[in-house]
């Protein structure tokens, strides 16, 4: 069970500023919740390495290999010569390879997205529904009341319209 301080902001700039301040004050990385993506988060909260592109690449390579092996392998498993062509015909099999490359690329991208974005959310996480509409929310984990008070102050200073204490159930 963890308590969080959640500051609700009108605009992204102030929320971002608050998050920056919190981070500077030694809090574990505060989270920003917003109805739209906010630009410049990385400058404030630091670079985020995405693994998605690796996944996409791996998926593509895997898919391509699978596609060609699928086409060529099944052709060899039960021989049905057609049209005076070889059993392993390159151009048509390349098309299958191509499609499989893309299919696996897509699937792995999604997988990468889920993993890196930590979706779907199994464990209960703090959330303020306002952030889906038009509010910008900064949450930060607070170990005890004192931490909370400090955080509240920082948030209010940054222009939070409201600061709430929310609890994340285990």
């Amino acid at each position: 069970m963890t308590n969080f301080a959640a500051g609700i902001f009108h605009g992204p700039e102030s929320a971002l500023a608050a998050a920056g301040t919190l981070k500077g004050a030694g809090y574990t990385t505060p989270e920003l919740m917003s109805p739209v993506p906010i630009e410049g988060v990385e400058e404030v909260l630091g670079e985020k390495k995405s693994v998605i592109k690796t996944f996409t690449l791996m998926g593509g390579i895997l898919g391509g290999t699978f596609g060609f092996l699928l086409a060529a392998g099944t052709a060899v498993l039960y021989l049905h010569p057609t049209g005076g062509r070889p059993i392993i015909t390159i151009p048509p099999f390349l098309i299958i390879t191509y499609e499989m490359t893309i299919l696996f690329g897509i699937l792995f991208t999604v997988l990468g997205f889920f993993i890196s974005a930590r979706l779907p959310v199994i464990r209960e996480r703090v959330y303020l529904p306002e952030s889906a509409v038009d509010k910008f929310v900064v949450t930060v984990a607070c170990a005890d009341d004192e931490h909370f008070k400090r955080a509240e102050a920082i948030l209010r200073d940054a222009g939070a319209e409201q600061v709430r204490e929310v609890t994340e159930e285990a």
């Binding site: 039960y78 996480r125 529904p129």
Partner: protein
Amino acid sequence: MNVSIVPALKALIPAALVVAVVLLGLVVGFWANAAFYPGTSPEQPIAFSHKIHAGENEIPCMYCHTQARRSISAGVPSVSKCMGCHNEVATQRPQIRKLKNYWENKEPIPWIKVHDLPDFVHFTHKRHIAAGIECQTCHGPVETMDQIRLTDAAPMEMGLCLNCHKQKEVANGLDCWTCHK
């Protein structure tokens, strides 16, 4: 406020349970039909036992299924053939009386096909007998069966044919037109 998909998943459990039970039932029903009403071991007009004839008395298959070695079909013995023995043997048993009725009324016995291939499969007994294939390879251990049925060992499916043709490296044995024409 917190968010998680778990409560939503929990809310779905009753519905999922119903679906799962229906699917399970489907499988059970499907299986039950096959197990208890298979149509592959039907009640024959006369309860002829291969176990007695082929098993205990060791009558060779082709004594009755005379055509197997020269025709595409193995053939069933004519009533006269049955009567050939049963004029003398076991004449008083109820099943034999049935047989006698057919014979006296000059009616053929409407045996029901057990090893029934679809019409698009043209199997030839002759070639397989000539190649020395045991009857039991495809028909299962009929000499142990009181009532003829399909067995799992020989399910009479295409895979069975293909595997054997592959193993024995039958010339053109994998050409579809070998069986389907």
